[in-house]
């Protein structure tokens, strides 16, 4: 479980996050949603330590990450897997080397053992016979899958996904969402997904945190998101015609 306590972050005079608190449950797909520019990615970066919050604390299973020393932070980070918006695959390495990278750096595994683990993870995300391809030779959806394989290869306790289906067609988006959900349940990990895609929200949002202008204004699940009674959330949820017609009916 990850707990955040009064996280605030400003850039110069602009307050991006205003005292955000909440919990992300183990074995669940936790979503941070909101319109563009509401601070979702900044919050995610504060949680994983890529940005230091101005105030507040982040706890990974009761371990205070914000105030941890460098060694402790490094130790916690080794339990984290992260899927970045663009995949963030290393251009100079092929698919296999990309997925194997965390094992090369963080473990003492033998070459054969590492290769088996890599093949298992690639199979798990539905990729086969692409081991020797370079990131520039594969599609956006495949890059995301490779990113997921790299994120889970080291058996993380926490999985973070920053807009996992941005730039993907609807079918591939759903496949990626389902994959994230399956992996979360299968490995019983704490997954935090930042998204503004309503298909994801309705499909995998077991626990949802809605941000609006830097504030947390609602928390719940996809089952009660349509009846929140929060105007900002309704505006976000019922933007497209399909959702509007659903609401009207």
């Amino acid at each position: 479980m990850i707990k955040i306590n009064s996280i605030s972050k400003s850039f110069r005079d602009k307050t991006v996050l205003n005292s955000i608190s909440g919990e992300f449950d183990k074995g669940k797909c936790n979503l941070i949603i909101g319109a563009s520019g509401t601070g979702k990615s900044v919050l995610l970066k504060c949680i994983v330590g890529l940005l230091p919050p101005d105030s507040g604390h982040v706890y990974y299973d009761l371990r205070n990450f914000t105030e941890a020393d460098k060694e402790m932070k490094s130790e916690i980070r080794r339990e984290i897997g992260m899927l970045f918006q663009g995949g963030a695959l290393f251009d100079s390495k092929n698919v296999e080397e990309n997925v194997m990278f965390p094992l090369d750096i963080l473990t003492q595994m033998g070459e054969e053992e590492k290769r088996e683990r890599v093949n298992f993870c690639l199979q798990r995300v539905g990729l086969e016979n692409v081991n020797k391809k370079m990131p520039s030779e594969i599609s956006g959806g495949m890059k995301k899958r490779v990113g997921i394989a790299r994120a889970i290869v080291n058996n993380p306790n926490y999985l973070f996904c920053d807009e996992p289906n941005s730039g993907l067609d609807p079918q591939t988006s759903i496949l990626i969402d389902e994959l994230i959900l399956e992996i979360t349940h299968e490995f019983d990990i704490t997954t935090v997904v930042v998204t503004h895609d309503m298909n994801s929200v309705m499909g995998i949002g077991e626990k949802i945190m809605f941000l609006y202008k830097g504030d947390k204004v609602w928390e719940g699940s996809h089952q009660n998101i349509t009846s929140s009674g929060v105007q900002a959330l309704d505006d976000f949820v019922f933007t497209n015609k399909v959702m509007k017609s659903l609401k009207a009916s």
Binding site: L50, R77, R78, I80, M82, A88, L89, D91, I105, F160
Partner: protein, 245 residues
């Protein structure tokens, strides 16, 4: 502003030596960087230095109009210019243009495509992992490149000097050997170490802290070359004052 940048640069250098990975990790990375920085630069260095030596020979001969000056002085001048300035310093400017801009561009691209963030999230000190091997490889390869370009410049001068009849092979070799001081070579190597460090560290610094998009990566590469060249020229002057006066 300048002092702030300098302060960040010093902190950046300090960050290279904390939370390091295993020796074997760096060994592999340094080896890869040596190929990238050294082996892939040899052709350009050989080409430029050979022509530089040839042109220096022709131009020195052109300016030596007095019959009282022996012809071997031409190759002596070529030798001194090559060892003291052309091989270490002019090649440093080419090194900054080729290798420095590539380092800044590569790191800048890694930054804007979140590859550096990916390393940090894994608990890896990205600065140390990415930059330290580049600096070590530069320190290993640039002095070798300077030696290669020194030899090529002298060979270029020999070829052009003898083939065009500016001076005989015997005169050329005599000039190369006449009044030779070994310290000149040591001085060139000291300079090459300093320049290699400055170019690789400044270029990496510029690339590592790139913010924005593709345009900013280009700007970082340009800044890396400009800053590296200025640093090399300043260091060149101070080293000459320090070691030759």
């Amino acid at each position: 502003m300048l002092m702030k940048s300098f302060g960040r640069y010093i902190l950046f250098l300090g960050s290279l030596f904390v939370r390091r990975e295993t020796f074997m990790t760096y060994y592999k990375l340094v080896f890869e960087e040596c190929v990238q920085i050294g082996v892939r630069s040899i052709f350009l260095f050989v080409l430029v230095s050979t022509f530089m030596g040839a042109v220096t020979t022709v131009q020195t001969a052109y300016n030596m109009v007095s019959p009282l000056i022996p012809r071997f002085v031409i190759s002596q001048v070529v030798r001194e210019m090559t060892i003291l300035e052309l091989a270490p310093t002019i090649m440093a400017i080419i090194f900054a243009g080729k290798v420095g801009s590539s380092m800044a561009g590569g790191l800048g691209t890694m930054r804007i495509t979140e590859q550096i963030d990916a390393l940090e999230v894994m608990g890896i000190n990205s600065a140390s992992y990415l930059v330290l091997p580049k600096i070590v490889a530069s320190l290993l390869m640039y002095p070798l490149l300077v030696i290669v370009s020194g030899v090529c410049a002298l060979l270029g001068g020999y070829l052009v000097g003898t083939l065009t009849g500016v001076l005989t092979p015997t005169e050329y070799v005599q000039g190369i050997r006449f009044g030779f001081q070994e310290f000149g070579v040591s001085f060139a190597l000291i300079k090459s170490f300093v320049f290699a460090f400055l170019i690789s560290s400044i270029s990496s610094f510029k690339g590592y802290y790139t913010q924005g998009g593709a345009l900013e990566v280009g700007i970082s590469s340009t800044q890396a070359v400009t800053s590296s060249v200025i640093a090399v020229l300043l260091a060149d002057y101070f080293l000459a004052e320090l070691l030759l006066s």
